[in-house]
Symmetry: C2
Subunit: 137 residues, 2 copies
């Protein structure tokens, strides 16, 4: 096998972290198939996720490890960790309760581009919890 074949067709898990030490990670609800969020992991976040069975990310805005739900309580129980062909993106299949997005929605993807527009969004979901009641101000 060539190196490329080994990455694409092999069974060695060799996640490719970028120049910032991060790998893109998508969380998808195992039951509904809904894509919940996209975030990043560094090596330590990935190791913690594997070890604990709960999703831990690396917050690029806060520059620190971020156990999903540490503040909100909305954790992600990881059922399966998938990796893509070139191993530069992970897909977590997770079990969750209500409200995965800090804005109050079940998913971070609660808006879509309006048909026929390139500039205007429309809301396609309702809030499932009040973030002001959950996050400390």
């Amino acid at each position: 096998m060539t190196a490329k074949q080994n990455i694409e067709e092999g069974v060695n898990f060799n996640p490719k972290f970028d120049s910032n030490g991060l790998i893109r990670t998508i969380a998808q609800d195992t039951k509904t198939g809904q894509v919940l969020m996209a975030a990043s992991m560094n090596r330590q976040a990935l190791d913690l996720t594997i070890q604990t069975g709960y999703a831990t990310y690396f917050s690029t805005s806060r520059q620190k490890l971020w156990k999903k739900g540490e503040e909100s309580g909305h954790t992600q129980k990881v059922e399966q960790i998938l990796v893509d062909c070139d191993q530069d993106c992970l897909l977590l299949k997770v079990t969750v309760d209500a409200g995965q997005c800090h804005v109050g929605y079940q998913s971070c993807f609660y808006r879509a581009l309006k048909k026929g527009s390139s500039k205007e969004l429309e809301f396609i979901a309702e809030k499932v919890y009040d973030p002001e009641k959950i996050y400390k101000k």
Copy 2:
């Protein structure tokens, strides 16, 4: 509204491109909910996607625009473009035929980390086409 509220709770589509001019983009099968691939778009790729109704990405390995399926024929008809809370990730709901991954699988996510392992993958899908027959060698 503050700038943050405007991004998170507003209806203005303001995709946040990173320092390389790229935005992370996920493609999800509208019918099955399967996550097919993760890629990047630059402004031009996004504009072309909106204008044509078919997914165009920016290939970071080839450093050029890449209309999905231009070589393989496996295009992605875009039904909906969703954006996440901080507008730094897009989610395309797409209609596809068989075989979205260049390795031969329906999805790029055809392997998962084995239960109890941090290093070994297992295949969770079968190939749906023979890439050697489709791609020029």
